[in-house]
Amino acid sequence: MAKLTINGKTVEAPDGAPLVEVIKQNGFYVSNLCYIDKLPPYAGCRTCLVEIEGARGLQLSCTTTVRDDMVVNTVTDDVKQARQYVLSVIDANHSDRCLTCHRRVKCMPGDICLRDDSVTHRCLTCSKNYRCELQTTNDLLDMGKDSVEPWAGEERTYYEAAPPEPDRGNPFFEFDPQMCIICTRCVRACDDLRHTGAVTLAGRGFSTAIAFGAGGAIDESNCDFCGSCIDVCPTATLMERPNKWLARTEDWVSTVCNSCSVGCTISVGHRDGKPVIVKPDSLNPFSDDQICVRGRFHYDAVKQSDRLAQHLVRSGDNLQPTTWEEALDYSVEQLAAVHAAHGAKAIAFLGSPIATNEENYLVQRIAREVVGTPHIDFSAGPVNRAVAQATAAAFGTETLPGDLTDIPERAKTILVVADDLEESHNVAALRIKDAIDPRKLPLREPGRLIVITARRGELCDFAEPYGGVWLQPTPGQEAGVLGALASLLADDAEIASAASEAGLDPAVVSAADAGSTGVDGAALEHAAAILREAAAAADEAFALVFAPKSTGVAGVAESAKAAANVALLVSGTAATRSFFVLPTEANVNGALDMGVSPDGDGKDVNGILEAALGGEVKALVVAGDNPIMHLPGRARVQEALAKLDILVVVDQLLGETAQQAHVVIADAPTYGKDGTFANADRRVQRLRAAQAHPGDAKPAWETLSALGTRLAASLGNAVAFAYEEAADVTEEITRTVPGYEKFQFHGYFGWGKGRAVDESAAGQIALQPVAVDAPAPNGEGEVALLTGRTLYTSLEGATLRLADADKLHREDGVLVNQLDAVALGISAGDNVVLQDGAAELSLKATLTADVPQGAVFVSSYYDGGAVGALLPAENGSTAVPRVKLVKQQA
């Protein structure tokens, strides 16, 4: 630590820390318009000048590092004047007349500028008014008070030159270069924080400008609209397009994004009961200062008027509005009738991976304590439970203590088993890139990446160029590749002996070969060599990131076992901290922890639907789930639901499952709820309400609590649901759910920091045999059908099957391999038909090299999960589904 003096105050800071950060952290003001905390200085704005005793002239505080006994002064007249002069040069190319006007605060919207008739663009007419860093900087440097505007009227200053054209051509960003002061924060955010490099500095001298891609429209560049550049822009140059003019918020609320299991914490700014802007909130140290396009913009995916504002009850073919009381009473009456006629096991319950822990907890409580049925699950349950079971069998627990922040901070070797993590778990992919290509301070040793995926994702570009390798198996052969890798590792004498010492039996994984996986032997050997090095360097962190596919339970189970085997061989007992599972949806882990899983002879979701078809299950209560959208074998799901005597759905949107319901009870929007989520590494984080409830909608915990109470009364069951607020449910969870004891809802800052995991996990580690079917060749005219979560399509938009669920329209089609397309005579933009027996899906073809030959890819959320119609119901096979690909005749 260094001891230094800033404006007479003695402060302590780490040796070598950037002076500008130390000044700011100690509560002093220093103007800086280009610095981004934790990144190397760019030193472009030159306004962070300070006086340092003993140094010649003024110094930039961003490039100066802290030394012991440094004496810094930030407030001398020289400093102020120098900063003012530099700022005046910046202002000259901005609409500076307001910035340097002492009357600005008195101006009202619509007022004419009395000062200068050439002033047409003013702070008052700027969307960033009162939240503009440049404006604040001008105020704090007294630019208006001292009338520092030496360049007014010069030839090419803001008011004298024609402004460049703004780019308003995409749904997310607006880019208005006339506001730009060329601080290049956006360039560096895109390069150094996001590893994307979509924004560049172009031109020289007077023509220096920010450009996206090669200088064209933003949506033609490789920008993926994470908005990191918006967060750092000090002016109105880069702004969110939705609610651009409304985003002066009433208040900010810290909550959690519900788009994937990374669980990025976000701050939602709201106004008039509606969220209008989202910024990252660093509570979750893994997501830290970053979110993705979903987190930032999907709050706006559906209009408030598209949400359920009324409770509905079926009357013939129609759903008619009703009151909450009546909807509840009708549901209770019907459920009690089924209970009376067919017993408790004729009633089943579905929770949801998008619902809060509290809601899921109540669902299973009603099922178990009130009704007494073992049939409890959620649509994503079977897949994620298969992974949890494989994890538990391998490591002795499914609540592994590994902390995701270890990946960017420590991991030297990273193995990713996932289909395009960039799209499914964007920020997790980002943090892996951080480990491979570190740009943040303090710099760490870069790691190496092995990716196993049949489909190319952006993460693949971070493998080979950085010394790693991308293994591209034939679709469905991921487990085979992992098996072959495990076998190669087990052949290594040191690894085998270490494994034996740790109580593992290497014979379990030996003798697998890569013959039929489609992976090149040399690449596999390269990967094995990297893993052997990782195994030999016991002090270096290894990370295996496993993200299951959303369908195909049997295949996922084998992949999970095979992945766990590799982790165990590389890290031995330490593998409990290096194996990371990224579940398919935001609160899968919470739902599993709350016990939304079948008991004993209980049926999982597939079993429940099977039983509904067979007439054994007569009633179903669905809280937040949408099995028609999420499950394969769509027609069968619809048929099963149609056979039910009573289907009660509690949901925010009238999705397809709700449309088939007998009773629909309106739930509050996710961002309008209180509660908790558990993310991928079981960080338990709080949701806080930032959005008004539309119409009669009530948060689901209230509905479920009332349903439980009334149903108990009706069934003559003495169970009490005495909650006054969501927090009461949480409090009960902390008392009853294992792992959640450490949380207290009120007054505890541990939310977001604590994790519901078994920190002491150790002990029962084991290698598991993996069974993989050899890949079957495609039949005549057939292609393998791949699906998965994609980046832009919003869950809510998809639930309502909105045409704009993917506002960029990048994902509303089928990806066809270019070579296949040539063979079939398909051009980009052609309509093609995917056929599986009677089921057909017609969509637009996008040609790409990202999917392997002989395969096509459709987003699992496309058109409300339409691809589910082509997927076979879960049948225990690890084979990849095949469909016929036909060009549609005009």
Binding site: R46, A82, Y85, E154, F206
Partner: protein
């Protein structure tokens, strides 16, 4: 061991040089360099070759580099078997027949002869060493320029080339660096950082590989010092880099050249290739244990890529922007590895020092700056060229040598600009008193720079010069520092405004603001860019005031302040009318006049009809009061 290998190379080379030194028959050599090509040397060479071939003449034709006598180019050298060497001036292709007619068989072409470089005296032809321009020089670094064939490595070796490296390899690297430090050799690009100290930084780094960069991105307007070295004696630079490799432990090197120097690129690439063939580059050069791989790298021609960290960024395939320091190149240069960057001339200096010994090297110059410096000069002078002078040489003597006699209507020298855009400008009466030494120039707030000197007489306008230079500075600003890219914009606007006659007295205050602001820029491009503005305001205040207060351009250059009027009636006016690109000449009843709305003030008519066209101040006689400060 090293010496044996080198002796073998030398013996081989001596034979090749013998063919030039003692030619069996008449040897005619044409200088091939950018400057001579501009004068038509390629045509001369082709004509010579064609004539010799077709007529079966008893002569050989070869090439050399240029001598620095740019105003006489093409300077053709004729060597006879008797050892006489005579230089002929301005031998363009049309004079080839005449030259050949006289020199084949040993004669002299008196009409074209310029000087006798060796051999017996010739009547009415001066000896080269008596020629004042030549006599004042201390030709050491450019001693081989115009003498050897730059495309022939043997010529270089025969003249002692690579002997400097052999000498260096026998020295301990520490001792070698100490010698360079004590030689007072400082960076020749204009920054004057001690070369030995730089080498010491790199030597102290343990991370490998280490890199050596030769900064050949000579971009200053009016500077062609490095160009002549690279085009006419490329191996001297390679040898300097080899010596530096031995001293610092670097094993890879780049020669960073600009695309605008195509011939230099070609020569350097050829030199690297030849050196590699002879085992003078690569692993374990001449058995000395020194390893150096060199690559010639073509930059994309951004001015700031001549700044060392900008150059490194460009080599890294990043945007050509000077970097933030620290880290310094010795810690993190190209590809993040320890790196040393030196100028072309600095490497050549090291070669000289090692070939001829430190005593010889220090035998000229001053106490603070021993040795010599190459200068290129241009502007309003008669003899444009390149010379090598010892440090401390009087600028006045140089000026008299390159602008020796009144030529017609003499105008007076007004200003001298050394070191180009960033260095500033001095009035002639101060500049001509100065010795050519960095310290002397620094005392007056300007920089001696990399060797380019521009002489400016009173036909040039200081405001006009500033318009040009501030535009150049603005256009070449990389865009990092707002102080620089914003400040230079404002600077060029102020001067454009003054040139339009819209200057205001408070512009001096604005210039002060800019001078203060620009000094807080990251690299020297920003921090030094106000120099020329400030020196102009300091030394040429009257001329600026004349523009600002009276809307007059005393040099009659600023187009918005002058107009062209016809004052005569000679026949030349018809020609002037014909040459006018905008047809501004109007004839009414035989009398010519100029349509002022059309005239673009290009001066073409005045060139044709100087006596009939006059330049008139638009505001002549009208005194405009200083604009009120807003």
């Amino acid at each position: 061991m090293a010496n044996e290998a080198y002796e073998a190379l030398r013996n081989q080379a001596a034979e090749a040089w013998q063919q030039v030194e003692k030619p069996p028959r008449t040897l005619i050599r044409v200088p091939m360099a950018t400057c001579t090509l501009a004068a038509g040397a390629d045509e001369t060479l082709a004509a010579l070759r064609a004539a010799v071939d077709e007529r079966g003449l008893d002569a050989d034709v070869g090439i050399t580099g240029e001598t620095g006598l740019c105003w006489l180019e093409p300077v053709v050298e004729v060597r006879q078997p008797d050892g006489s060497v005579i230089l002929y001036e301005n031998v363009t292709a049309d004079k080839v027949d005449k030259l050949l007619g006289d020199v084949i068989g040993g004669g002299v072409c008196n009409d074209l002869a310029f000087a006798v470089a060796a051999g017996p005296d010739v009547d009415a032809v001066q000896r080269l060493e008596d020629f004042d321009f030549w006599a004042m020089q201390e030709r050491r670094l450019i001693a081989r320029c115009g003498v050897i064939d730059p495309e022939n490595i043997d010529h270089y070796i025969a003249s002692g080339g690579y002997g400097g490296f052999v000498n260096a390899a026998e020295m301990d690297p520490e001792a070698l660096i100490k010698m360079v430090e004590e030689s007072t050799l400082r960076g020749r690009s204009g920054s004057n950082f001690p070369t030995g100290t730089k080498w010491n930084f790199l030597r102290g780094k343990e991370r490998e590989p280490k890199y050596l960069i030769c900064n050949a991105d000579e971009g200053d307007p009016g500077a062609f010092v490095n160009r002549i070295m690279m085009e006419c004696d490329p191996h001297a630079i390679l040898e300097g880099m080899l010596i530096a490799a031995h001293a610092t432990g670097a094993t890879f090197g780049f020669i960073y050249l600009r695309e605008e120097y195509p011939l230099a690129i070609e020569r350097m690439e050829r030199a690297v290739e030849q050196a590699r063939e002879r085992g003078l580059l690569g692993e374990n050069v001449l058995g000395s244990g020194v390893t150096l791989e060199l690559t010639v790298w073509k930059g994309a021609g951004s001015y700031v890529c001549g700044e060392e960290s900008g150059l490194l960024a460009s080599l890294d395939d990043a945007r050509g922007m000077p970097r933030i320091r620290p880290p310094f190149p010795a810690d993190s240069g190209v590809f993040g590895q320890p790196t040393n960057v030196n100028n072309v001339e600095s490497y050549a200096d090291v070669t000289l020092m090692l070939q001829k010994g430190i005593e010889f090297y220090q035998s000229v110059g001053t106490a603070a700056n021993s040795g010599t410096k190459i200068f290129s000069f241009s502007g309003h002078i008669q003899r444009v060229g390149v010379v090598e002078l010892p440090f401390g040489f009087a600028l006045r003597d140089l000026y008299h040598a390159i602008d020796p006699a009144p030529w017609g209507e003499r105008r007076t020298l007004k200003a001298v600009q050394s070191g180009a855009a960033l260095a500033g400008i001095l009035p002639a009466h101060i500049a001509l008193k100065l010795p050519l030494e960095p310290e002397a120039f620094r005392e007056h707030g300007v920089i001696l720079g990399g060797g380019g000197i521009v002489f400016i007489d009173d036909t040039a306008c200081i405001v006009d010069l500033n318009v040009m230079f501030s535009w150049f500075l603005e256009d070449e600003s990389c865009g990092r520092c707002t102080s620089c890219h914003g400040g230079t914009q404002r600077m060029s606007e102020i001067f454009r405004r003054i040139a339009r006659g819209e200057g205001r007295q408070d512009d001096y205050g604005k210039m002060d603001i800019l001078a203060q602001t620009l000094q807080y820029s990251n690299c020297v491009h920003g921090s030094a860019s106000p120099t020329i503005m400030s020196r102009s305001a300091e030394f040429f205040r009257e001329e600026l005031d004349e523009h600002i207060n009276n809307r007059r351009c005393p040099a009659q250059v600023c187009r918005d302040l002058i107009r062209y009027e016809i004052t005569g009636a000679s026949d030349a006016l018809a020609e002037a009318a014909a040459i006018c690109p905008v047809e501004a000449f109007v004839q009414e009843e035989e009398a010519w006049s100029i349509d002022q709305a059309r005239c673009i003030k290009c001066n073409a008519c005045k060139d044709v009809a100087p006596d009939d066209v006059q330049i008139v101040d638009i505001a002549a006689g009208v005194v405009v009061p200083a604009a009120a400060t807003p």
